[in-house]
Symmetry: C3
Subunit: 296 residues, 3 copies
């Protein structure tokens, strides 16, 4: 599972059904020992830990891999690292890497690889948990209006989610600072002013400002960002009655969203995290079954 | 379990009984899968590893969490990190943090949190293992004379232990360099000269010099510290016949204690470590049972 | 298991038989809970991960130990760290350390310790997997000609392997830059020019340039190293018909060996890694059985 573009509507639906079953307590264990490892070349709390918990819930053996004390420090390439882990008997890898499409250099390696986030490219497991959260709320995607707001250009979440949501029949709008508009082919949605967008959408997806991917320092202060592009207390009041707030987190409280709204009734932010474990169980099971492993 | 001040004598006694049973080989496993994680924002060998082993012995699933590669690096707060792990399904956290009373900002989160050491505040699991070690030796606390010597001011062990020991009827004396005297409310014991104290006590608790918490460099050399405030070979000879030596470790050999005394007959330093695993099993079991989890 | 010099031919053979059985799918689990920990004071991917997988396959409890967040940072010695882990109930340690013969300071500790590589000294588990790989290929050691090429002086693999191979009746040749010749007692083999050696040997063992152990910068460029001492495409054509290529990895592609040869038919480099897991299972089982633990 590398990009959401590769996923058919059927596959998305079957993953959502499996994730839903896991969320309701379904327990599956493999018929033989399976070794997996999570290679995170970028910092992570949510994605790494939720893959880890998902793996343990599925009864997989999680082999620790710490990039900072690995032979990557002796100059070993991603290809050789992955090939090594395969040789050692690892059956599946989850990889997060700052390089866009890191998986292209791995395409000759016959091992299931799950993209845990590639640079500003894709973040398909995040997309699946976001879809799961939306579906729990509205029971459908068709006709829903989704607003994606903020650092669109540097966000792999924006990219992954927009592709999948359109495929499923939702309408996607964008907003945020002009310099972070992405005019590329994939993200060609309609840009609205933040105030117009917030009144219009059923789902408001806020994006984290990706400071670590910016070439230059932000020109406006964080406080000004909040006033101009963030979800302020005032803007929240203009949302549609049943509209929900989402954010992939980590949240810059008081910047993308007012501190008081993070745990407010509209917020599904911690529900997203909860769903992440079940969505990843579905992804892992699907990837392993496609290689002949069985679960009972 | 956040501070020893919160612990009643009854609770301490019941924890000591449970720890003693574990030390004698009692095996308990949970009736359902339980996920725990150890968040150590400060370096640790003993506390982290012994919680880890205690968790495994109790059949818990230990979810790895490495602060240095987490979203804490993207500025995520302790509150949001803990709330995230709770959302992902973690059932209990052990936290060590340099911030005194870090747990205050977590008080609205309904998750059992065990204090693995907060700044210069408390270290209750260390206290329990120290109590266990003393009880193994003397079979009681009432009337025992305990000397706590060294960097009292920066030591969370001194603080935690003094509170608990007095509660249990022991008499606590302090010694060490004057500038490290703590004249606060909690540590208001009697200070004695090192030579007087050593002759008097049944238990000599040496404290590690907490270089990493000092605002300025120590003014006396380590060698001089040893001569003036450390347990020298000569001073050891003046100890009471059955008196024992304790130290929370890591030990600065040749500073707080002469190298030759670390593994001498009076020393219970490695016994303390051994007891740490059993004391922590008791603490974990108690915290989980209080949330409705069961062990058989 | 500390050095290959300590290993008798009988012991090597029994370990190779056990490793071979594991490679064919033999499953053994301990009759009681066993705790092990891997202390790697130097970076590692292959050795650390393959010990980890070997331990899990043997049903051992692997207690994580991260040097960078341990009390080693507070100045705790290797001796005290090991003594601590023993006190906490760890039953076996694998240690990699930059200090040659680090295990000498541990000799009074009654705990099985497996050397995962000591400075420029020994790397016995690497030797066992190399022997296993050679034996799979040729079914014998006697009379085989083995060439060890490259950074002989800084390589613990060269040292460990030469000792064991000679013991088993193989003939060992060396080549590489003159300044990396090791004229010590252990490595006193015959040095040949690289071109002569390559034509002669059944097994070509290439060594990684150990930049991190060099006191001064290499005087020739990596490109020149490849031309003068590396396995170029041209040199490979002069190898004997059934000769194989080995490398302990990580590989500097294009330096010690031409990129196209790493996964060529003669290469056993990834087979070595695969064997590493089985060789380490044999070593672990042997070390634990020698302390009275049983496997079924």
């Amino acid at each position: 599972m590398l990009t959401t573009a590769d996923l058919t509507v059927e596959k998305i639906n079957s993953l959502l059904i499996a994730a839903d079953e896991f969320s309701k307590g379904k327990v599956l264990k493999p018929t033989k020992e399976i070794f997996v490892s999570n290679l995170f070349f970028e910092d992570s709390t949510r994605t790494k830990t939720s893959f880890d918990i998902a793996e343990r819930k599925l009864g997989l053996q999680v082999v620790p891999f710490d990039v900072t004390s690995s032979s990557v420090n002796k100059g070993e390439s991603l290809y050789d690292t992955v090939k090594t882990l395969q040789s050692l008997g690892v059956n599946l890898l989850v990889i997060r890497h700052k390089q866009d499409q890191f998986y292209k250099e791995l395409k000759e390696i016959d091992l299931p690889i799950i993209n845990g986030g590639d640079g500003t490219g894709n973040h398909p497991s995040q997309t699946l948990l976001d879809l799961m959260t939306i579906h729990q709320e509205f029971g459908k995607f068709k006709g829903l209006k989704i607003g994606i707001v903020g650092d669109v250009k540097h966000s792999r979440v924006a990219n992954s989610n927009a592709v999948a949501l359109r495929k499923l029949g939702a309408k996607v709008y964008f907003s945020g600072p002009e310099k972070w508009f992405d005019e590329g082919a994939i993200i060609n949605g309609t840009y609205l002013s933040i105030d117009d967008l917030i009144k219009e959408v059923d789902v408001l997806m806020l994006l984290r400002i990706q400071h670590e991917r910016h070439d230059e320092k932000m020109k406006i202060s964080l406080n000004n960002y909040h006033k101009k592009f963030g979800l302020t207390l005032e803007r929240e009041k203009t949302m549609k009655e049943n509209a929900i707030i989402m954010h992939p987190a980590p949240i810059n409280r008081g910047v993308e969203i007012h501190d008081d709204l993070v745990e407010s009734p509209r917020s599904r932010i911690f529900q997203q995290m909860k769903n992440g474990v079940f969505a990843r169980m579905a992804i892992l099971k699907d990837a392993l079954e496609s290689k002949g492993f069985e679960f009972l």
